[in-house]
Amino acid sequence: MAQTTAAPRYVVEAYDIHKSFGDFEALKGVNLTVAPQELVFIIGPSGSGKSTMLRCCNLLEQPSRGVVKITGEEITHRGVDINKVRQRIGMVFQQFNLYPHMSALGNVSLALRKVKKMARSEAEDRAHAALTRVGLDDKAGNHPTELSGGQQQRVAIARAIAMEPDVILFDEPTSALDPELVGSVLEVMRELRESGMTMVVVSHEMRFARDAADRVIFMDGGLVVEEGTPERVFTDARSDRLKAFLTSVTGH
């Protein structure tokens, strides 16, 4: 971890986040705090604002209002070097978004070389180590099109962890995968979690949420409706909206 001085209380803090797209208000005042080594799961129906909320955490979406802090440092402040902050926030996307013109190794080492300014050999050593962690070092020389969806997503995770970020944001990491490929990606995420990585996950993998998450947040209509331990959210839903959502995803 890139922690230096006294560990901050929260890795991610977001307060009163609003986001509008034209007339549509996607987020209507959302708070989110993530403690070190915590795995926070955000669930909710599509259009609930959960992905937008996640993307506000590294300013891929600029909040219309509100404050985002990463390890205590306010990043929504004017004049913050966002590129510097983003080095500390990994992100994994639904569509993997690997660079098709580069090998897996090139994908993982690009930011090490160009952002962290490492020499090529050092960057590649680190990229190999990251690929080993996701079990794909033997595919280091392959291009994304030569990999399965699950392998591509694991390379994308390696790209994020190689930067040794303080937190990794996962935006529906398994939604674009064939069912039989989901397991390998969840396995990597589970290992990451066990190694102490702080993670925020937007996903529909309820079973994974149930046994890996520390906390589950249910969003609907641009607001946090309920949150709590997985146990509490999944077995003791209090709002009708959460009940309806859980019924729709589990099919009971």
Partner: protein, 223 residues
């Protein structure tokens, strides 16, 4: 048949005018290469500058590009050749032909590169920016390599179409291959020099298309 052969493949005439046509061939190659290198480079530079979305700059680029795409190259060539001396710019006919064709190629190339840049998936930008690469770094390391690879086929087409216009330079007295061939044709009262010129064009453009196919396959990746 004999008359046809005599008209187009008269060896005597060919031997006599070969040195002249060869000299023209060299001029055409020089002109073609200069146009290709500067045109494609300038086009890429313009597309890159346009990506920075600086309004007044973009208007200028679009004006430049639309002008040079709209006007026939011959018209531009004549305007430049006869007009520039009036504003104190005297350049050789070769340089003017080179500049005009390079500008025309750059204009078409800019639009093609630009289309390539805008068609790179937004997710590529987001992934790159999320790792801390800046806008310019993302443009150069992630977006442009993909844009160029996508645009090789249309770029090749345009490059060939515009580079063939080197023949227009004959209008402003450049001693390129077609000029020489036509002069020789008039002297010899025989079209064989034109046949040689035709072979000359094939010698220039076949390698060009082959090179582009090679580049295309070399850098292709399945999508």
């Amino acid at each position: 048949m004999d008359r046809f052969l005599d008209q187009f493949f008269n060896l005597e005439v060919m031997a006599k005018y070969l040195p002249d046509v060869a000299a023209g061939f060299v001029v055409t190659i020089q002109l073609a290469l200069s146009v290709i290198v500067t045109g494609l480079t300038l086009g890429l530079a313009l597309a890159v500058i346009r990506a920075f979305q600086i309004r007044p700059v973009n208007w200028l680029i679009i004006l430049f590009v639309d002008l040079f795409r709209a006007l026939p190259p011959l018209v531009i060539l004549i305007i430049f050749y006869f007009g520039l001396p009036f504003i104190g710019l005297t350049m050789s006919a070769f340089v003017i032909s080179w500049l005009v064709l390079a500008f025309v190629l750059a204009s078409f190339a800019e639009e093609i590169y630009w289309a390539g840049i805008t068609s790179v998936n937004r997710g590529q930008w987001e992934a790159s920016r999320s790792t801390g690469l800046g806008f310019t770094q993302t443009l150069f390391y992630v977006v442009i390599p993909q844009a160029i690879r996508m645009t090789i086929p249309p770029l090749t087409n345009r490059t060939i179409a515009i580079t063939k216009n080197t023949a227009l330079a004959s209008v402003v007295t450049v001693e390129e291959m077609l000029t020489v061939a036509q002069t020789s044709l008039a002297y010899a009262a025989n079209t064989s020099p034109l046949t040689m010129a035709a072979v000359g064009y094939l010698l220039i453009f076949f390698p060009l298309t082959m090179a582009s196919r090679w580049v295309e396959s070399r850098y292709a990746w399945k999508r």
